[in-house]
């Protein structure tokens, strides 16, 4: 991995009550990178497809175990919702909160929490990644307005 721009990693291990990622298989490298403040994605060496979430194969050409590459962590809102009724525990005291489909500069789309005033979010808004460390093994990518 080269050219990584690190995002800040905030330690929320003591207070987080929400879902916690379980690094396994193809995901392990993705979650390990989040602890260093890096958002990575798979970039197929055969056909150039960039993808998230990490999979065993390239979604376009089927090449096995496409390698990871660092993302700039910068993207824009493809679409979003403002949740007034929370998801699982961990989000309950955040309502209303923004969840957006974020199109990264490198192409892949990620669904993520956006930490901003719900009145501020709009389609096309530029975002950058930060991380909330929620376990010893993983930090959640959370986006903020750029």
């Amino acid at each position: 991995m080269t050219g990584a721009e690190s995002g800040p990693v905030e330690d929320r291990r003591d207070s987080w009550e929400g879902p916690v990622p379980v690094p396994t298989g193809a995901n392990s490298e993705f979650w390990a990178a989040t602890l260093e403040g890096e958002l990575v994605h798979q970039h197929c060496e055969e056909c150039g497809t960039a993808q998230l979430y990490p999979r065993a194969v390239c979604t376009d050409c089927g090449a096995v175990d496409p390698p990871f590459e660092a993302s700039s962590g910068v993207g824009e809102v493809y679409t979003y919702t403002v949740c007034h009724v929370p998801g699982e525990p961990g989000f309950g005291d955040r309502t209303p909160y923004v969840v957006a489909a974020v199109d990264l500069e490198e192409g892949p789309r990620l669904l993520a929490l956006v930490d901003c005033d719900p009145d501020r979010v709009e389609i096309g808004m530029a975002l950058e990644v930060t991380f909330w460390q929620v376990s010893d093994e993983a930090a959640l990518p959370v986006f903020v307005p750029q």
Binding site: P19, H84, E88, L111
Partner: protein, 392 residues
């Protein structure tokens, strides 16, 4: 391949029933189904069963099919539990049709059930979340409503669909559900009610979301070799189509349509040799108001982007060109996940046999059911057709 026929279908009430169990609800649905067969059908006639169930709450996750079929006297026949989230019993119906068409069985039960009302709100949300992309969607904090809200958001941005048009779906379906004695929310609502309800996941408000429900439904599918024993007015399964897709919405190219439904529709129309214009009614999967509008476009009831105008035109109301969700749909009739697809077949059977009461469509010959799992990870469509010429 042999032809398959729908000779009976019935359901329990949908709602919250602390005094009922999944077995008692399934028994009600099974007896309603056998009672609806014009010339009668006994439990001992059934060769095989497919039972849809998500397993909300984790109760009887293993062998949940035989657990209900043994209760109604089908002990011994092959029984398969079918899981495809909210499309579970739509797929169970498809399995029944396949079993009949293949020649392996003559009389097959397609059913489904779910109990959802005996858990906390947080637990219910957890169990709805298991049909999303559990690893990547749930980490973002989105709810199931939030996923459909994103589809609504893109449809509104792209085609100018309005919140009022979404609310009109609720008004129509509540108006129909008020005429259905099995409906969970069998009351009418005004456009004002449906527009002023609290926001759940913007742009969707409470009236844009279906309830969670307890309930069961059963349909009986038989082969052309035995259909005459059960009815003089056969209803043929004219078309079947199904499709799957990425489970996570964010993994799909399209937010303004459900590709799995488009594929299912294409297959079903082709098998039936009909077009959307040939339909007299349709039961579509309106878990959220936007889902009904997407279905209008995915199933070819209107052009892409024009679903908002179609609901506004009134043509999908009872009495319109193509009544949609005469049962009240998931919105008003209710949505006991594993039972929903078979429950749609119940409405198709009632309409085609002229037993839909106050909500009866005038003399229909052909109807479609459309059942979606998750946000579109699975979709299944059936087209049912009265064989008027054959019986004449």
């Amino acid at each position: 391949m042999r032809d398959a026929y729908l000779v009976g279908a019935g359901q329990s009430d949908y709602g919250a029933f602390p005094e009922e169990s999944y077995r008692s609800l399934f028994r009600t649905a099974f007896e309603a189904a056998t009672d609806s067969v014009p010339n009668g059908l006994e439990a001992s006639d059934v060769d095989e069963a497919f039972v849809g169930n998500l397993g909300v709450g984790g109760r009887q996750l293993g062998l949940s099919g035989p657990a209900v079929t043994e209760h109604v006297g089908l002990g011994g026949v092959p029984c398969t539990r079918v899981e495809n989230a909210c499309a579970a019993s739509g797929y169970a119906t498809r399995q029944a049709v396949q079993a009949v068409k293949s020649g392996m069985a003559d009389v097959v039960l397609a059913g489904g059930f779910e109990i959802m009302s005996d858990m906390s709100s947080d637990a219910t949300k957890y169990w709805l979340g298991v049909s999303g992309e559990t690893e990547w969607e749930r980490l973002s904090g989105t709810t199931f409503s939030g996923v459909y809200a994103q589809m609504a958001s893109v449809h509104m941005e792209t085609y100018g669909t309005t919140r009022e048009q979404l609310s009109r779906v609720a008004v129509k379906n509540h108006s129909n559900g008020a005429k259905n004695p099995h409906a969970q929310l069998g009351f009418e609502c005004s456009l004002e009610d449906a527009q002023s309800a609290p926001v759940v996941a913007d742009p969707l408000n409470l009236y844009h979301c279906c309830p969670t429900s307890d309930g069961a439904a059963c349909a009986l599918i038989v082969s052309e070799d035995v259909v005459d024993e059960y009815t003089d007015d056969p209803i043929r399964v004219a078309g079947v189509g199904a499709g799957s897709d990425n489970v996570g919405l964010f993994q799909r190219d399209s937010y303004t349509g459900v590709p799995a439904s488009q594929r299912a529709a294409e297959t079903a129309y082709e098998m039936a040799g009909v077009e959307p214009d040939d339909l007299d009614f349709a039961e579509v999967h309106d878990c959220f108001a936007i889902a009904e509008l997407l279905a209008y476009e995915d199933l070819g009831f209107c052009e892409k982007g024009e679903a908002g105008q179609l609901i506004e035109s009134g043509e999908t109301e009872i009495g319109g060109d193509l009544p949609v969700n005469t049962s009240g749909g998931l919105k008003s009739k209710g949505h006991p996940i594993g039972a929903t697809g078979a429950g749609q077949v119940v409405e198709a059977f009632k309409q085609l046999s002229g037993n839909a009461g106050e909500r009866q469509v005038e003399d229909p010959t052909r109807g479609l059911t459309h059942n979606v799992g998750g946000s579109g990870g699975a979709s299944v469509i059936h087209i049912f057709e009265k064989e008027t010429e054959v019986s004449a």
